[in-house]
């Protein structure tokens, strides 16, 4: 299972890419493989305030709807509109084209609270 070294991770299978003050967020390769066939993504609204570990988006497969949690406190500054037309980008490119939203972090140091790649690899066994 692909777990890029340069990202941070949550226990609930989101990944975070730090981009200065911002954090780009998606779900991991492991998560998309568990879900398979993503058919709908409910994106957050730009401007929405996110609490750490608060529900912020929904990813739906044929079988089930799964909540996506904000890894870090902040405000949503960008969402991936491409997922509206092509939700399967989450399956085909979870760490790239399949990103879900970008947060402006209230305090960028919060990323240190997240798992690094080694810890996440261990968590998913």
């Amino acid at each position: 299972m692909n777990v890029p070294d340069d990202l941070f991770y949550t226990e609930s299978h989101e990944w975070v890419r730090r981009e200065g003050e911002n954090a780009r967020v998606g779900i991991t390769d492991h998560a998309q493989a568990e879900l398979t066939d993503v058919v709908y993504v409910e994106l957050p609204k730009v401007g929405a305030q996110a609490e750490a570990r608060g529900q912020i988006a929904v990813v739906e497969s044929v079988k089930a709807a799964s909540d996506i949690y904000a890894p870090i406190k902040g405000s949503v500054v960008e969402v991936n509109k491409a997922l509206e037309a092509n939700p399967a980008l989450i399956n085909t490119d979870p760490f790239g084209e399949g990103w879900i939203f970008v947060l402006k972090m209230d305090s960028p140091d919060d990323v240190k609270e997240l798992k690094d790649a080694a810890a996440y690899r261990k968590a998913i066994g």
């Binding site: 609930s12 299978h13 779900i27 998560a31 568990e34 879900l35 398979t36 066939d37 058919v39 709908y40 409910e42 929904v58 990813v59 739906e60 497969s61 044929v62 079988k63 709807a65 799964s66 909540d67 996506i68 509206e84």
Partner: protein, 369 residues
């Protein structure tokens, strides 16, 4: 998101095969079953376009024998057993005294006074207990579920598959017929039926031969594009056809008339459990009806228990819902108040607090072109 892990469950003789193929296993009633091997979408399309194989070893087989078995079963089941020739089957219901559905099943007449009842996995023990409570002295009922493995082999290329299996001249049973075949020093009981809307069979065999039959089917089906298919595709395929799922669309609180399945109830029979309630329901009409609908445009897929609205009034809730892989649109079924149940009516499905438009359509939702 979180992924539920499962506790110990009953397994079929094919459990090891499923795990070996990388299937995702989920609890299904008391059982642990494959929900998908690779992708529900791909498994669904394999059945619509080529052929797919499902493990149905969890389903129950009850065998009734004895001099007056037919007469007795006719008082237990809604459809008319007198219409069954030897070698034929029919879809039917087992009802409680209130007309509510205990189970939906297929009953086959396998000899003049011998019947095979193929029942839902979750219903097997309850059906067996209920039937035994009402049995007469001359009939005998056995629960043979553990003795049999079963596969549903479904899709337009199923006949081709069986030609490689049983020879070019193989004479598969006709729709709703059942027939026994010798194969590889085992015995296959093949019924031409299914739960997908495609041509197909359900095959039963001694449980000890399950792995052999499964492997042979996958091997011989390779050239035909066969895929092992899980409960996920089984659900999307059956819902496109509006075939009900007991426990979701059917329950002891619902009768077959509400569910729109009166065709499988013979009210001309003078006696069967639940008859009086159904006759009254037929005269007065039912308060709610099970309707099929399709979402308009793009939106989140409908799911069981989502509320249904019409003209500002909450009129019911969904019992089934999914994204239809064939139609690429949300589809579902649900009970709604009868005055709103007309075909063509516009509904709204409430999803996470927001309402999305849908239209009631004629069943089935998917028609083969």
């Amino acid at each position: 998101m979180s992924f539920v892990s499962d506790a110990a469950q009953k397994t079929t003789p094919l459990y090891g095969e499923h795990v070996g193929l990388g299937a995702k296993m989920i609890p299904f009633g008391d059982w642990i079953m494959p929900v998908q091997y690779s992708s529900i979408m791909e498994e669904h399309q394999a059945v619509r376009n080529n052929v797919g194989v499902f493990d149905i070893s969890h389903m129950g087989q009850l065998v009734a024998t004895g001099p007056k078995t037919g007469g007795w079963l006719n008082e237990m089941l809604t459809n008319n057993i007198d219409k069954l020739e030897v070698g034929s089957g029919q879809y039917t219901f087992l009802l409680n005294e209130g007309g509510g559905i205990i189970d939906d099943l297929i009953v086959y007449r396998t000899a003049p006074e011998e019947f095979l009842l193929v029942v839902n996995a979750s219903g097997t023990e309850g059906d067996f207990a209920w039937l035994n409570e009402h049995i007469n002295d001359e009939a005998d009922l056995e629960n043979r579920s553990a003795d049999y493995g079963g596969l549903a082999i479904q899709g337009p290329r199923v006949v081709e598959l069986f030609e490689t299996f049983l020879g070019k001249e193989v004479d598969l049973p006709a729709r709703n017929q059942i027939k026994a075949f010798d194969y590889n020093s085992s015995n296959l009981t093949i019924a031409r039926t299914g739960y997908t809307g495609e041509d197909g069979v359900e095959v039963f065999f001694p449980a000890k031969d399950a792995v052999m039959v499964w492997k042979e089917v996958l091997e011989k089906g390779k050239a035909l594009g066969i895929r092992p298919c899980g409960l996920g595709a089984r659900d999307t395929l059956r819902l496109e056809m509006c075939y009900p799922l007991n426990g979701s669309d059917l329950s002891p609180e619902r009768n077959p008339l509400e569910a729109g399945l009166g065709f499988f109830v013979d009210l001309k029979k003078t006696k069967f459990i639940g008859r009086e309630v159904l006759i009254r329901a037929k005269e007065k009409g039912t308060a709610e009806r099970l309707v099929a609908f399709r979402m308009k445009g793009k939106g989140p897929p409908p799911r069981p228990h989502y509320p249904v609205w019409r003209e500002g009034e909450r009129i019911g809730e969904l019992t089934s819902g999914t994204l239809s892989p064939s139609l690429n649109q949300g589809i579902g079924m649900g009970y709604v108040a009868s005055p709103h149940a007309g075909i063509g009516n516009e509904l709204e499905v409430e999803i996470r607090g927001q309402k999305f438009p849908a239209t009631i359509e004629k069943k089935p939702l998917y028609k083969k072109s």
